[in-house]
């Protein structure tokens, strides 16, 4: 809620944190605060302020897409992938959802003293496989080592450069209009729950795997099949809810979801029920959220479903003119509610 929405006078000042807390990294409201209060004032500029997943810059008359992302996942190996596959696919996907074709990557490694070289080799090999699968080339890199305990095994930062096709569609997080339909390319929350299932102190048995995958092919298939693609995101940390809030804020629209049409795997629903989490806020690493003009939605859905990464694609909601900035949902039993922006970290409920 913005600061100007005050219901009456209040004698008590709002409390903030004067240090970084974990919630600042959640992808939710505290992360947004960090951007608004620290980074945007420090680095003025229209490209940054657009808050797209990728920056579009022009160099010698050629427009290209640029993005960067850090990976600190714990544990570094998990069902369906590892920190290396994430580091490649995460950056590839931030380029792909802008309509760009990712081409080159850089990677910077922060290594904790004592990390087994075998683990590092394993991560490097899987990064190579991920690069090959995504059609990108890792062309430069850096390594630093820090004292034991000053990092958690291995952190990776990747930066990616992509090229736009000659007729780049004007997709933007700010381009959604009332009446547009919201599509997702498959089941939500697979990655987050797969990670939780192997987290220390929380291990539970599941066959679930992370959905980490490069989205370039899926995005290009969608763009070829449907001309009315307005906005795309890969809903990673903070989940679909956070991507929709970014869309609602940037496009000055509301979003209305149909809970019954949102694809969520049985295992993910079960784990979320037990842990008190909401799949709408759980991370994905290989899913696409796309907003399409209404008349193009069915064609777009069909294109997604034809692609191996989009077999469970669904139309999950509609962009509305009412309640700009707010995401609402009709629940499975027919009640209406607001889907709030994640406040801090999603904390497990205790009963």
């Amino acid at each position: 809620m913005s600061a100007d929405t005050v219901f009456g006078a209040c004698p008590v000042p709002a409390r903030g944190y004067d240090r970084v807390v974990m919630g600042h990294g959640s992808g939710g409201r505290l992360s947004a605060d960090l951007l608004q209060q620290v980074f945007l004032p420090a680095f003025e500029g229209q490209v940054l302020a657009a808050l797209e997943d990728q920056a579009t810059v022009e160099l010698s008359g050629t427009r290209m897409a640029l993005t960067t992302d850090s990976f600190v996942v714990r544990p570094i190996f998990f069902p369906g992938g590892d920190i290396g596959t994430l580091a490649v696919n995460g950056t590839v996907n931030d380029l792909a959802v802008g309509g760009a074709v990712p081409r080159f990557l850089s990677a910077a490694f922060i290594l904790e003293e004592g990390l087994p070289l075998e683990d590092l080799e394993r991560v490097a090999r899987s990064m190579r496989r991920a690069c090959d699968a995504a059609g990108v080339v890792l062309v430069t890199g850096d390594t630093k080592v820090v004292d034991r305990g000053k990092a958690d095994q291995l952190f990776i930062t990747t930066t990616g450069v992509g090229a736009y096709p000659p007729f780049r569609p004007p997709v933007s997080i700010a381009a959604a209009r009332a009446g547009d339909r919201v599509l997702v390319s498959g089941t939500l929350g697979d990655h987050g729950v797969a990670i939780l299932s192997v987290r220390e102190g929380l291990e539970f048995e599941t066959t679930l795997e992370s959905d980490t995958a490069p989205l370039t092919g899926l995005v290009q298939a969608l763009l070829e099949a449907a001309s009315g693609v307005r906005a795309m995101r890969d809903p990673t940390r903070g989940g679909l809810s956070s991507s929709l809030h970014e869309l609602a804020a940037a496009s000055h629209v509301g979003v209305h979801l149909e809970e019954a049409s949102i694809p969520v795997r049985r295992e993910v629903r079960a784990a979320c029920e037990i842990l008190g989490l909401d799949p709408l806020y759980v991370a994905n690493e290989g899913k696409l959220m796309a907003v399409l003009a209404p008349e193009q939605a069915e064609a777009g859905l069909a294109a997604l479903r034809r692609h191996p990464l989009g077999t469970n694609a669904a139309i999950v909601g509609t962009v509305v003119a009412e309640h700009p900035g707010v995401v609402t949902m009709r629940s499975v039993v027919g009640g209406e509610r607001v889907v709030p922006m994640l406040a801090g970290e999603q904390l497990p409920r205790i009963c």
Binding site: M1, P11, A14, G16, Y17, G334, I350, C351
Partner: protein, 378 residues
């Protein structure tokens, strides 16, 4: 998913809402006791499905919300001491105390950890014999057996570095306090399903009789709650006042006897302060003398703390069903889930947090429920 999908069936929910609409001839005020029920009501928009006139008010059953500020401050002080590993359920980390929350402590470098089970805290104590491991034992009768078990196990294993900061509360005395309170509006209760799964229903019979108030022990899924409301409305319309179990798949009249035994082995009943409400006699649990060496409140010197409750916070009146979140001048302005002033804004089960999530795009006047005219709802 079994045990979930059948209780979230849209058609069945619609049918129950229609039945409530048919059977309610007058306005009724029904309180759901549990925070879990409040959460489910707003998550699924159940109050929006009810006929105007059947009003749900939110009860005191959010364990995070009712933990007194003094306990939060004690936790904050203990977590800041050298060599301490402070373990807690996740929700408690964001509850504001007089000097900040436990997440802030963690950011300062203190060892504050979220555990999903109190037995995990016992394991941490076993693995770290040179550290003092403190578990924040809060909650209602639902969390009491597991917390008691952790203390019993720690004692059996001779883990003298394990202690608990205990602030347990009990539901029946709180219901009595609401009914005895000045200006009480509550006419029927959706009783606490999981508390009764542990404790049985015996404690609720005398309350229903004495106060002539129907108590429907209710589950947490949408169909459970709608059924609970229907059963409560039926009793109210007939003038009945009995304890009825809607949540039969979990609740037996005698409750869970082994769980009750471990509770009374480790804890004893005491007076307890409820945040924003004040002291309710015989409404809490504390450690028995045999467990004193595991009592963090005794081990650590935290007796002399002075506490300051933000004056704007009316969480006490909200917990008692007297006021609604929008009656608070700070609601949605100075007090939001990001920077909560009171505990009802912290936990997803807290009424203020639930309202903030569910109603923030609605006019600030709130949805006023109208009396039912000429014997029928509009």
């Amino acid at each position: 998913m079994k045990f979930v999908d059948e209780y979230r069936d849209g058609g069945a929910a619609h049918g129950l809402a229609e039945a409530i609409d048919r059977e309610a001839t007058r306005p009724w005020v029904i309180m759901e006791v549990c925070g879990g029920q409040t959460h489910s009501i707003v998550r699924h928009g159940i109050d929006e499905m009810l006929p105007l006139g059947v009003e749900l008010v939110h009860g005191p059953g959010c364990p995070v919300c009712v933990t007194p500020l003094e306990m939060i401050d004690k936790a904050h002080a203990i977590a800041g001491q050298r060599g301490v590993v402070f373990c807690s359920f996740g929700d408690m980390l964001r509850v504001p105390g007089s000097h900040g929350d436990l997440l802030g402590r963690k950011a300062e470098g203190c060892d504050v950890r979220v555990v999903y089970s109190p037995l995990d805290a016992v394991d941490i104590a076993a693995k770290n014999p040179d550290r003092r491991v403190v578990f924040f034992a809060i909650g209602f009768e639902t969390t009491a057996p597991a917390n008691a078990m952790a203390l019993r196990v720690a004692r059996q294993r001779g883990l003298r570095n394990f202690s608990a900061l205990v602030s347990h509360v009990l539901v029946p005395p709180a219901i009595e306090a609401i009914l005895n309170g000045e200006g009480n509006r509550v006419q029927a209760f959706l009783g606490p399903g999981h508390v009764c799964a542990i404790m049985g229903t015996g404690e609720y019979e005398p309350i229903a009789r004495r106060h002539r108030v129907p108590i429907v022990v209710t589950g947490f899924e949408p169909i459970d709650i709608l059924q609970g409301v229907l059963l409560a409305v039926r009793q109210l319309e007939r003038g009945d006042a009995t304890v009825h179990v809607q949540y039969g798949r979990a609740v037996r009249a005698p409750g869970n006897l082994p769980a009750q035994r471990v509770i009374s082995e480790v804890f004893e009943v005491c007076d307890r302060a409820w945040r924003g409400v004040g002291v309710i006699p015989a409404s809490g649990l504390r450690l028995r003398d045999e467990y004193r060496e595991h009592d963090a409140a005794e081990i650590f010197d935290v007796a002399s703390l002075t506490v300051h409750e933000p004056e704007a916070c009316i969480s006490g009146e909200i917990l008692m069903g007297k006021k609604r979140p929008r009656d608070c001048s700070a609601f949605g302005g100075a007090c939001t889930p990001v920077s909560p002033l009171g505990a009802t804004m912290v936990s997803s089960e807290g009424a203020c947090a639930a309202y903030f999530a569910y109603g923030r795009h609605l006019p600030a006047t709130d949805r006023r429920r109208l009396p039912i005219a000429d014997g029928r709802s509009p």
